[in-house]
Amino acid sequence: MSYIAILLTYIFINNFILVKFLGLCPFIGVSKNSESAIGMGLAVTFVTGTASAVTWCVYYGLLLPLGLEYLKTIAFILVIAALVQLVEMVLRKMSPALYKALGIYLPLITTNCAVLGIAIINIDQAYGLLESFVAGIAAGVGFTLAIILMSNIRESLDLKPPRKQFQGVPIAFISAGLMALSFMAFDNSLLSNLHLA
């Protein structure tokens, strides 16, 4: 699979939120305004990218040689949690500006299922190191796309709220469902039409 195909797959065809339904907690929780949605999206992209690369190394460097493939879920959780902590510390020291933009969102996604999800999918699909990294970035970009679209919808809904029964989370769920339906328009024919499959 070419890198472009992987990018398209995880941004559109297998969008983590709208098709795979992973990482729904921040999708609903942090999509009230677009500023925090962008921050959250960037933080997730950052973490899925690095976590993909690191978990690939852990799996092929440690678990596979020891014959402990079945431990990958718990080992990945451990590694990702430590990785996010480390990234937070490094950011705080090295780049206070970036830390201010991403910092408050990083602890929120330590054990987000989208992050664990991409790590496991990478192994299932038998991607190489670079392919895993690209898939991680693409999953994060797909997450960012979905959460920004959602935050714009919710900002518009704040201006002209629906009936009282639907205000808040109910209309958010309904909008999310409709968005998921529209993302079903993307399937593998997208890749074959672009001669990427």
């Binding site: 020891l66 431990l71 451990l78 430590a82 480390l86 490094v90």
Partner: protein, 267 residues
């Protein structure tokens, strides 16, 4: 070695290694925070109202710490906080602006003020104001859509039974966000010590005001001319109180006002 023991040991080793790595990283990448800055942040009220002009309490504390902002800008904290901050920073006590609270200069609810048309758009004062200055016949008054209620960080503003927007002075921290969002600037900050206020914002001529509203200032100048020591002054068809004077004349002017629109904000 049984497989289960092997798995447990591997995970334990992995966790142990990661733990040690993290604690080393924590040492290496620790950021030293100045005691003064922590003390400043501690002293803040933590409402994050933004009344000081900064993004929040922490941002203001940092600005004071860096010397780019004065102590005493925090309205909720008042004089106590200003002195505390000055003490932390080793400065002389600073002058504090008097605590201010919001007041709505309009009592023209739907029963008292005529409407030009029926507004059915987005329930937001600024949206309503775009359309011919709102549905009120008086283009200076309160639009009653509650944009100030929505923006108030402490929930001090509400609509009372008569439909007027009112401010709970005990809750108001004087951040001024309501005044900022109000298209007609009919809600403004007044000193907490101001004992009187003319609850009208209209600068229309007296005859026009009479047609449009039952509780508008008609600029009759009774308060100014008959009671010269009252502290009221008519400027552009609207009587304005100087927020200080409190004499016998002031009390009499309040009673003499033909529209009875001089109120006690603290009552």
């Amino acid at each position: 070695m049984t497989p289960i023991l092997f798995a447990v040991l591997t995970l334990a080793c992995l966790g142990f290694a990661l733990g040690i790595g993290l604690s080393i990283a924590d040492r290496k990448f620790s950021v030293e925070k100045d005691e003064k800055l922590s003390a400043l942040e501690e002293a803040m009220p933590g409402a994050n109202c933004g009344g000081c002009g900064f993004a929040g309490c922490a941002a203001y504390a940092e600005a004071v710490y860096n010397g780019t902002a004065k102590a005493g800008l925090c309205s909720p904290g008042g004089a106590d906080l200003a002195n505390k901050m000055a003490k932390i920073m080793g400065l002389e006590a600073v002058e504090v602006e008097e605590k201010r609270v919001a007041y709505v200069f309009c009592k023209g609810n739907c029963e008292k003020t005529r409407k030009d048309f029926k507004y059915k758009g987005i329930p937001d004062c600024n949206a309503a104001a775009i359309l011919f200055g709102g549905d009120n016949a008086c283009k200076y008054g309160c639009l009653h859509m509650g944009s100030c209620i929505a923006v108030c960080p402490v929930g001090a503003i509400s609509k009372n039974a008569e439909g007027d927007i009112v401010v709970d002075r005990s809750k108001c921290v004087g951040c001024g966000k309501c005044s900022e969002v109000c298209p007609n600037k009919v809600i403004r900050l007044i000193p907490a010590s101001a004992r009187y206020a003319v609850a009208c914002n209209s600068r229309d001529k007296g005859a026009d005001v009479r047609k449009k509203c039952d509780v508008g200032c008609i600029g009759c100048k009774i308060c100014e001319v008959k009671y010269p020591q009252s502290g009221f002054k008519v400027d552009g068809n609207l009587s304005v109180y100087d927020n200080k004077t409190c004499t016998e004349d002031t009390v009499k002017a309040m009673e003499a006002c033909p529209k009875k629109i001089i109120y006690r904000p603290d009552a």
